[in-house]
Symmetry: C2
Subunit: 487 residues, 2 copies
């Protein structure tokens, strides 16, 4: 179905994969992984693992046991229906998490993100043909009321208000945004809110982002996210975002092996708590640019490390998440397009199962704009088309037409054939007109203007999902001021 | 050596390749190819082919014979040394041929190209770390004296003056730019000029671009280029640039099969004239965007057709050329970076043997700027790095350091390790700084300004190759006014 699912085979051999696996076992059994959670340590202890405080050690038998129950595929439900993650389904793309700064083209400035941006990012994700799982973009904006003991749920409620597609929990619950007690319970309550709002009670209704803490650790908040989510039978993604020579050793190979151990520890935890719960193996690890000690999210070495980690995930038969549409460019320029396209390749051409930050972020994840969102959508559509591959059958070879037309003949006759229309993707922002470049720009506007016009159309034609008064009341308990439903 | 040389295997199966081959034989034997040359028809006739006027038919035996003598690899010589094209060598990238319009950022305008642009494109190609074969960019500029009976050689002489790297003949000799008689002889004279200037007499010293005329034809001028070049034992590239639904049928598959037949006819011609001469199989075929009947050079379908044709070239064990850094964007914007990066993938990740227009052209080949040239160089360097792949050995896994550092440790200590420096490519135009985007731009300038600064450094530090008075006199016979050597 997806011919390029094993694209990684062109980058890493079976023997190299086995070597990484072998050293991963050494790391897991000799070095260990710190999981900052008593509950997690207890789970490992109960399953016979060596545990020293929060440091857990996993031997080959326990690893096998943990991996044996991970489903290759699972479904997530929401008012828009069922979304499948796994081998038989298309790559699930999700929007950006981080952007805290917005490039404001209208005023030619960069400014802090606000709740209006959160709303608009949700609307673009909900109306997107290529983003199938919206996430909360622009976390903890300046205009969000942070005086209460829970400013996480108000942000989650925004997603439920604007989207019918299932929502990805990219925004971790922490002691800062949630002061009401146990974070495990907070994660369970978050799932219950989705269930109640959707009136879907017995199925996965969301998925949570669980980023490990390199080197070889899982932080307290993330451990609580994993535990809370899987206790509620919700899938999670265990993801690494290491930086070479900083949070992992200097080489790409060493980053892969260390990340692999760290991610697997998280996957095993999910299965020891709830065997069979959905768990995805992922990485957006990137090199550090040592000239300024910055994460080089758009670097070619990021592609290679992520390709290597995709290979490891596939080796363990796990659903796989990869990066990303990532770049350190701070404008919608050539670099932004080039790096975003290159980094998307790993996931879109390798047909991984999930891509976060697939559209709408640049500047090393921290910068965003709606114009960037719709431009990234074009990149995704392009690579989706490439991933569909060639359709080579006798029919499609058109031998009879070639014979009839003959050398120096012309194929431009009559109506455009259905086969042509079926096989081609037509961008609506990227320009393809001929003639004088100045005239083309005069007529169509520059790229940012064309992107803006697409954004405006989407925002203007968007309508809030139709929900009941009960649903409105439920969300109004949480929605930020100014974003509550009128009752 | 190059792990991704067969990247095409992820896009086309062995059976599909065989099917295309089978129908290619039907086209070659039943439909035929028009080669607008009495000499070429005569060559085919002598070799037992069915020939009707200029239409030649090739059966399986003749195809096999023609393909059997093509070298898998060959060398081209120039004052800079030996350049190898083929399986064991890196991809040869060449500059752009067409740009007739220049985006002039200093004056914020688009203007016709001139001879100064020709000179500067040559200098950038000669000083490039990633372009190893310069070509004549900006053909037939307005300020070129076209009153004489030969304004092709003056343009070729410019390349010899500014470059020591071997030069690619992207500019076909035609009855318009050469009115002194036989074009076959003109092509032979062109080779001789290189030989004399280089004082290299018995080896390939250049390579010529031979674009077939879809559907299923080779035009008179290109036929003469092939004949003249191979008679002088110089390698040629037979290349297709078809447009779906216009010069080939509507589907991608039909474009591949028709192009394959057309290209093979050209390859066979080279070998029937001079068995063993270097001949490269290539395609930059792209879809037509039927909304405005324009060649969509940056489209995903272009990647797919070119990937399919790379597969066919590899099937016949031929050296292979692929596209391109191509885009229909008319500014150095997100689209320009994204499409240029995507279309380069076919060649750079598939490690084809030659890429023309690898840097410096956009706007469907017709638009150029030196700023674009150096930005494309970054894309090439990125994909070269990806193509180098991962280095996964026990040493590089750094197990001992991982064990010593342990969970939650820190790897940023002392001097940056050699392994890190060896494994990472550091762009010098693409930005990777952190902090406020406005500050980053304030400090470094925007992308076009950074590109311009790299261009200026290269132009300012360039020095003309040191040549003898005899060499200067030889070129002065041809060089345009204003570009002759002072003697």
């Amino acid at each position: 179905m997806y011919p390029n699912r094993n694209l990684f085979e062109k980058y890493i051999t079976k023997d190299e994969i086995e070597l990484i696996h072998e050293y991963t076992l050494k790391i897991l059994s000799e070095v260990g992984v710190i999981i900052e959670s008593d509950a997690a340590a207890e789970v490992f202890k109960k399953n016979g693992a060596r545990v020293e405080g929060h440091k857990i050690f996993i031997d080959e038998a326990l690893l096998k046991k943990g991996l044996s129950t991970v489903p290759k595929e699972f479904d997530i439900y929401s008012p828009s229906g069922k979304l499948t993650l796994g081998e038989s389904a298309p790559t699930i793309c999700a929007g950006p998490v981080a952007p805290t700064t917005i490039q404001d083209f209208e005023n030619n400035t960069y400014r802090p993100a606000n709740l209006k941006d959160v709303e608009q990012y949700y609307i673009l994700q909900e109306t997107s043909k290529v983003i199938s799982m919206p996430t909360h973009s622009c976390q903890n904006t300046d205009d969000l009321d942070k005086s209460g003991d829970d400013f996480h749920t108000p942000q989650a409620a925004m997603g439920l208000k604007y989207c019918q597609k299932p929502i990805y929990q990219g925004n971790t619950i922490t002691p800062i945004n949630y002061k009401k007690g146990s974070l495990i319970e907070a994660n369970r309550r978050l799932v219950k809110l989705h269930r109640e709002f959707y009136d879907i009670w017995d199925k996965p209704v969301t998925m949570s982002n669980c980023c490990v803490l390199s080197p070889l650790a899982i932080g307290a908040e993330v451990a609580d996210t994993i535990i809370g989510a899987v206790q509620e039978n919700q899938p999670v993604i265990i993801i690494s975002c290491s930086m070479t020579n900083l949070t992992c050793p200097p080489t790409l190979a060493s980053a892969i092996v260390q990340d692999n151990a760290n991610i697997l520890a998280g996957i095993v935890l999910t299965q020891l708590i709830n065997p069979g719960v959905g768990a995805v193996y992922g990485s957006v690890t990137s090199p550090t640019d040592m000239r300024n000690v910055q994460l080089a999210t758009g670097a070619p070495e990021a592609v290679l490390m992520q390709m290597g980690l995709v290979a490891m995930g596939r080796y363990y038969n796990l659903p796989v998440r990869s990066g990303v549409s990532a770049t350190t460019a701070v404008d919608l320029d050539f670099q932004c397009g080039a790096e975003s396209m290159m980094t998307l390749m790993t996931g879109m051409l390798g047909k991984t199962d999930f891509i976060l930050n697939a559209a709408g972020a640049y500047g090393g994840y921290n910068l965003g704009s709606l114009e960037n969102f719709v431009l990234d959508e074009e990149n995704i559509a392009y690579l989706k088309r490439v991933n569909q591959g060639l359709d080579i059958t006798e029919d499609k070879l058109y031998f009879d037409l070639i014979k009839k037309t003959g050398p120096r003949g012309n194929y431009l006759k009559g109506r455009t054939p259905k086969d042509y229309r079926m096989e081609n993707y037509f961008p609506n922002i990227f320009i393809r007109e001929g003639g004088s470049p100045a005239d083309v720009i005069e007529k169509n506007g520059n790229l940012v203007a064309r992107a803006r016009s697409v954004v405006n159309e989407r925002l203007e034609s968007y309508e809030l999902p139709d929900v009941t008064t009960t649903q409105k009341k439920l969300l109004n308990e949480y929605l930020p001021e100014g974003y509550k439903y009128d009752l």
